[in-house]
């Protein structure tokens, strides 16, 4: 499973290792001297010291630092389904039947591994479909509101040679 943090219309896929190495979307962030004391998180990022107060209420995360606030919902993503869709083919397919909530990419747009491409709702639960490798979008076959079956093609990538040319 991968965690996706959804804040308003913004989606960030995050994966973290205890050492402080974190993937946020497409980029790697290194937090030095990370520490956690109850709801207080601290660490150094690019030389700057951060202290963040965090509260978790169910799947809702609220973070605060010096008067600034960021809120997000935690959503879990079944990674294996995405692997099947993305890693071994040039398409992203629906991992389950459902309805498309939002399409985050458009044709000929370059995407990076970790970018959220499509959000799909099934059984009243939203799932974000994340690109597993870098590429360029060839075509988008659905739009918000489209109902799809499991396995339906949602987004296709350009072949690597096409993208390079």
């Amino acid at each position: 499973m991968t965690a996706v943090l959804r804040s308003g219309s913004e989606f960030l896929a995050v994966m973290a290792e205890a050492s402080g190495r974190v993937m946020v979307g497409r980029s790697e962030v290194r937090i030095e001297n990370f520490s956690r004391n109850g709801g207080t998180l601290a660490g150094t990022l690019g030389g700057a010291r951060w202290e963040i107060e965090v509260a978790r209420i169910g799947d809702r995360i609220i973070a605060w630092s010096s008067g600034r606030i960021w809120q997000a919902e935690i959503q879990l993503l079944p990674v294996s389904e995405i692997d099947a869709a993305g890693e071994h083919s040039d398409q992203i397919t629906a991992p389950m039947p459902g309805s498309i909530v939002q399409v985050h990419v458009s044709p000929s747009q370059p995407v990076a591994a970790g970018d959220v491409m499509v959000t799909i709702e099934s059984m009243k639960m939203e799932t974000a479909l994340v690109a597993i490798r870098d590429g360029v979008v060839a075509s988008v076959l659905v739009e918000a509101g489209t109902t799809v079956d499991r396995g339906a093609i949602l987004v296709s990538f350009m072949k690597q040679e096409e993208a390079a040319s």
């Binding site: 499973m1 995050v14 994966m15 205890a18 993937m23 937090i31 709801g39 998180l41 960021w70 990076a112």
Partner: protein
């Protein structure tokens, strides 16, 4: 006075309990089941459970509260603010039961609580009134209102707290406003009488704090300016007012003292005025209780108003003179509300997941909540009051802004970011304020707030990822993820 029943809840209950304990007076807190775990309940000497559904009805139940006071061996009742604090029948019942009431006599509460009688009384004492019209049957009232010239305010005779007030700018809105004001007046105060007064454009709300003992001595503690209001409810108050020089202060405070003397006022009270841009002031009403915003006066005078309420109620004479009261520096209070401001100041509820108060020189927080409290919509949305002192207005605004920045309150939506953005408005800083300030600047404050208050999403997400188990991966899989990058 040995034992007080605190007939209130939240921050003001805690505020009263702390002063009572400092003076060696025992306390019993009347608390509904939803408040039995509150910080006020934990601090009180004991709690007496009161019953009611909805919970607010327990705090409005005169026979029940009087019985609790007697059953728990109290000799005094402090009503705080709101609820029954300005209810003459409650004061009378408490006194009839042989208990001491912390406040003016029931007669004075009754006089000042009836806004129409209070105005007539103030007028006889020589206080200036805004031209007004009394509700004397629909046709006559309508004609009288038209004679006032628009805009006018329609208000509840038994009103207070900004409820039941309508502003009318043209004749076509008048009938509807009168009907609505009557129906709100009936709903909130059980009395449908209304009256109208001419709306003074760009008015400042100025009020004077008074203390009066039972021997007829009345002292004022200067003014407070409470012009920053939303929907006729104050959210920022300060003292002294930038609009008042020593000459005007002596006139307006003198008027308040004269009214208190003429009415044989006893205990703490507040005389409210509106002040026009032409420096003319008009009597508004008297609040026969402690005000929410009393702490700003405490910070500049060094007096504990609850202490003086208790001393006066126990029969002590005020031992100081007007000339002994000095005002030092400046103080600002911000009301921290659980409310969603962009959606129109809608109350917000939920669990108070994180609660960290600011600390520092000149900073005081009066609060009745603590971390993990569950906030209900049963009561007022005010969570805490931030009160800040500084040597002058500029430094006090800066300190207040910083204290708000350091106030961490997570769970419900709050107005903290809005208050910060408001304090940075050049017109506020310049002191160009009146009761229409928020209406005029709301959109601008919201825009400023939305830009200023957003925490860097990617950095925060990285920290959050390290904390939540769902995002944790083993080193090997993260190494593979590293290959995502170009």
């Amino acid at each position: 006075m040995k034992h007080i029943l605190v007939a209130n809840r939240g921050e003001i209950a805690l505020r009263i309990i702390r002063t009572a304990h400092r003076l060696g007076i025992k306390t019993t807190l009347a608390a509904h089941a939803v408040d039995l775990q509150s910080i006020a309940a934990q601090t009180a000497g004991q709690t007496a459970q009161i019953f009611g559904d909805p919970p607010v009805s327990a705090y409005l139940d005169i026979p029940q509260l009087t019985k609790v006071a007697l059953d728990y061996g109290c000799d005094t009742v402090h009503p705080g603010y709101g609820f029954l604090s300005e209810n003459a029948a409650f004061a009378a019942q408490v006194e009839a039961a042989g208990l001491c009431w912390v406040g003016p006599s029931p007669d004075v509460i009754g006089l000042m609580g009836d806004k129409i009688r209070a105005r007539e009384f103030a007028h006889r004492c020589g206080l200036p009134l805004v031209p007004f019209a009394l509700d004397s049957g629909h046709r006559e009232f309508r004609d009288a209102v038209l004679a006032l010239r628009f805009p006018v305010l329609i208000k509840a005779a038994a009103g207070g707290g900004g409820k039941g007030i309508k502003i009318v700018r043209q004749e076509m809105e008048l009938d509807r406003a009168i009907t609505q004001a009557r129906s709100e007046a009936l709903r909130y105060f059980g009395d449908e009488r209304v009256y109208a007064e001419r709306f003074v454009e760009r008015p400042r709300h100025i009020e004077v704090q008074i203390l009066a003992d039972q021997f007829g001595k009345v002292i004022h503690l200067g003014e407070r300016e409470c012009s920053i209001q939303r929907r006729f409810q104050k959210i920022i108050e300060e003292t002294p007012s930038v609009a008042i020089d020593p000459d005007l202060r002596s006139k307006i405070c003198g008027a308040a003292v004269a009214l208190a003397k003429a009415s044989q006022y006893r205990n703490a009270g507040t005389v409210e005025f509106i002040l026009g841009p032409d420096r003319e002031f008009y009597f508004l009403e008297v609040n026969t209780r402690l005000q929410v915003e009393h702490p700003v006066t405490e910070l500049v005078t060094g007096l504990d108003l609850v202490e003086w309420q208790l001393r006066i109620a126990s029969g002590e004479a005020l031992p100081f003179e007007q000339s002994d009261v000095a005002s030092n520096g400046h103080a600002i209070e911000c009301r921290i509300n659980a409310e969603d401001v962009p959606s129109g100041f809608v109350p917000s509820s939920g669990i108070l997941a994180r609660y960290i108060e600011p600390h520092g020189e000149g900073i005081r927080v009066d609060s009745g909540v603590c971390e993990l409290d569950r906030l209900t919509s049963s009561f007022d949305p005010m969570l805490a009051k931030l009160i800040v002192w500084g040597p002058d207005r500029g430094s006090t605004i800066a300190r207040t802004e910083e204290a708000l920045r350091n106030f961490c309150l997570l769970g419900p939506e709050t107005n903290i970011a809005y208050l910060r953005a408001l304090l940075k408005q050049p017109e506020y800083v310049a002191g160009h304020i009146d009761t229409g300030f928020i209406d005029r600047h709301h959109e601008e404050i919201l825009r400023f707030m939305q830009v200023e208050s957003r925490l860097d999403a990617r950095v925060t997400a990285a920290f959050v990822a390290l904390m939540i188990p769902e995002a944790r991966v083993s080193y090997s899989s993260l190494s593979e993820l590293g290959a995502w990058k170009n």
